[in-house]
Symmetry: C2
């Protein structure tokens, strides 16, 4: 087993699910973890999880990050040949890979190459991503906890903005999908609470419309809280964040790096400062905090992350098939699990459905109902509820 | 009573402490809250906290932000005259102001102006600040919770950086004092955990030294996690963050605005990318999240924030004096409270003592012992503790 792509708050729950479940099957002799994803297989860099203590696994499961280390490597035929040579030496016949759609693509490639090379191997993709952009599955483990961070962050940002009014812009992760940015809606408790505007990658972002939107909200409330996805695109479908970059950085899967910089937030602040008379304009870029922060986990997300790891082993061994673990929402709120073909989830990414979006700067009630159970109850907060004192003439 | 300056996670605890305690004294007929700090007094914009329900107060106390609203106004003689005219109409004779050193300065000015104008008024400053830079007091309510956020953020950032190695730079608030940035040290559990380098406003920051420091750590661990204060200054004592600004923004107290932008983090990333061969370099600017995030509060900080509000009322009425509430650390760990003269805390700010700092890029063990009780226990996290699998030849 190995982990790929960006870590989440609960990816180690899935790791633990695989380890604990795999130990139950007599046909599995040892459970090895490859360090730093598929690159650890090529390097024969394994740790023996068969003998991990339950306490250690339990503690690591509650730890954010990817305990085995991660990678963004994308294997080709030569890479896979090296993997199989190492696997054969250790008689490795099951490969569980926890990751997003790029990791699902890695699973698909490894699976096809194994067939072509005549290497007997079962490959199961275990979903994780904070972006929630994996196809087929209702939602992805990792998303609920990141969404919880975003919602709690916007509760605080909104309260801060009420105390010192102005414009606040929070930039949220999400390359192609607005699920995480949209989750900021859960911060609203009172009708005038922010976020007042939510910009998603699924709708084109126009600078003039943005300025007009902010001015309209500011005129109504004397303040404005905005949630913006790092992946917003302009009318030409070009990433707004990328226009700002001097030097473009890509990973092996061809993804351009747009995180780890405050430039988009700063650009939007400059826009408002330049084109309006609003004085106090601030932005935060939530960055890596939203996927790694210690102590902000959704209980449902934690459970489901464990479950997809357990189910991956159970399905794969019981049914002797490859695939990607899928979560189906069967009621509001319960789920069931199944395996889908690797081809159905690999490489491509899911966007927000049109009926989750309202206009070009808000999410719909349907989205709120979709996301609320995944995030769990927001911690309680309140306003003073007392009358104003009459002025004395 | 009113609130001034930047909100914190526990400033509303102090508000509640004042309200609940003030209601116990028969000489206090009503408890009014001024909206948006001293500006609410001038505008006669009061709410009647005398009749706030206990449940509502309790819920608001657990809410981040400043429930009364805040301001950065600095009163002069004319401003004070307007305040006294309004106060006189309502027979307001006690003024409790929750805020940082600028708010203490406001208290000092209001107190002096009241004496000069012959307006009978008791003025008490109730300390709060995430920067922990108020003089005399051992520490300030608000700091412990912000420090807890910073520590939890760096635990996650370090784990994320272990999974996908590179350089990570977290930019932390703190204009003149490094206490908050230094608190990142509490994220270290294992010897090779980050932050590996901590840059404080108290030590001059040299770009070449910074690059050399990062390269040294990177050579040793294959990765590097850095905590940087937004307030770092260069050899000429100029703010590094300010050099990047096109347009400088000041508040009424003469403070330059350096928060709400990711520019410093981006500058440091560019430095490392330009001057080293390290490919993966990321930065986060913690921004407003660290002072407003919902659900990350230190238990000690919450209690002490309540206590300084209660004590302010008790001292002021029992002893019939003005002053600023001070927390003395009497053992490891317990505290006592007293009033200090307003002049002793107003306007000026406290820096980290020299013995809290180690070299030019680390804090000392003495600082760790100072800060640990204020932050409370960091949530548990762990690493996999299993042997590597032998390579097969």
């Amino acid at each position: 087993m190995a982990q790929g792509g960006g870590p989440t708050a609960v990816i180690n729950q899935s790791l633990m699910g695989v380890v604990l479940q795999a130990r139950k099957f007599p046909e599995i002799e040892r459970v090895y973890g490859a360090r730093f994803g598929v690159s650890g297989i090529v390097k024969e860099d394994f740790i023996d999880l068969s003998i991990a203590t339950d306490l250690n696994l339990e503690q690591v499961a509650n730890t954010p990050g990817a305990a085995l280390g991660s990678t963004r490597d994308k294997p080709d035929t030569a890479y896979c040949e090296k993997m199989f040579a190492v696997m054969q030496k250790h008689n490795i016949r099951y490969f569980f890979y926890i990751g997003g759609n790029d990791s699902a693509e890695t699973c698909r490639i490894v699976n096809n190459e194994a067939k072509a090379a005549g290497y007997e191997l079962r490959v199961v993709h275990i979903p994780k991503t904070i972006d929630n952009d994996i196809l087929v599955t209702d939602h992805c483990p990792g998303f609920g906890s990141a969404a919880r961070f975003v919602a709690h962050a916007f509760v605080g940002a909104n309260l801060d903005n009420m105390a010192l009014p102005g414009v606040y812009i929070g930039v949220v992760m999400g390359r192609h999908a607005g699920f995480l940015t949209g989750s900021s809606i859960l911060a609203k408790k009172f009708p005038d609470d922010g976020p007042h505007l939510i910009y998603l990658p699924e709708r084109s972002f126009g600078e003039d419309r943005f300025v007009a939107d902010v001015e309209r909200i500011y005129a109504r409330y004397g303040r404005c809280v905005v949630a913006v996805s790092e992946g917003i695109v302009d009318e030409k479908n070009e990433l707004v964040a990328v226009r700002l970059q001097k030097e473009k950085e890509h990973d092996a899967h061809g993804n351009i790096c747009i995180s780890g910089s405050g430039a988009l937030g700063d650009l939007l602040v400059d826009l408002i400062k330049t084109k309006t008379n609003i004085k106090r304009v601030r932005s935060d870029t939530f960055g890596y905090l939203q996927r790694s922060f210690l102590g902000c986990v959704s209980a449902i997300d934690r459970e489901e992350a464990r479950a997809v790891g357990e189910k991956a082993v159970q399905f794969c061994i019981d049914q002797d098939v490859d695939g990607s673990v899928v979560i189906d929402r069967v009621s509001d709120y319960s789920v069931s699990y199944r395996l889908a073909p690797l081809e159905s989830v690999a490489a491509r990414s899911k966007s927000m459905p049109a009926d989750f979006i309202s206009g070009d700067n808000m999410v719909s009630e349907k989205f709120v109902n979709y996301v609320r159970p995944l995030v769990g109850e927001i911690e309680d907060f309140d306003r003073l509820s007392v009358p104003s004192v009459d002025k004395i003439n």
